[in-house]
Assembly symmetry: C2
Homo-oligomer: 114 residues x 2
Amino acid sequence: MKSLRSCCPISSSLDIFGDKWTLLIIRDFFAGKFLYSEFLNSPEKISTNILASRLKSLEENGLIIEGIKSSKTGKKSYKLTEKGKGLYDVIDAMANWGLQNIKGTAKRISVPPQ
Amino acid sequence: MKSLRSCCPISSSLDIFGDKWTLLIIRDFFAGKFLYSEFLNSPEKISTNILASRLKSLEENGLIIEGIKSSKTGKKSYKLTEKGKGLYDVIDAMANWGLQNIKGTAKRISVPPQ
């Protein structure tokens, strides 16, 4: 485990998930996506190298685990751990702020963590 | 106003405040800081150029406004707008996640938005 920059839980959390692509991937999990190809197809068009690096980091930090590769399709899947599911309130608060403050946004995530 | 990458309120929000330094500055506001020098002195040691660029961006996006410069000290101050104060739930959710999931963190912010 890396040493903390400060004992602040916000700063320490941001060192784990504080970049926009990581949080968009977390959003996608809560929207029911779990396949590598589904993350790639999200409207913000994440690149393959960023997606791969962020998934690796999320896995190393214990927020997601790799699922079983489908024997039919050979597709890689991932799922949120309990620690990852704990980010629901962060994502939900961001969605609410966006809806209230940014014109042209519409809510898509309504699934609470499973 | 920039066009949105998608109609997702989370993605659109992250385009405004989705980097770790911006969110640390917002945290500092909720911790009662409002002077340029106070942000600089936070334990994570933000650099002057990043601090200046993030404050400018927060101001352009209507999350903070510049306060009156003290005639005594000549110090620049800032304050959160209503839109900025709306981020309290985001910061609070991150703090709670950090406290629950990262050893060695301790809560410092207990002030609800004024």
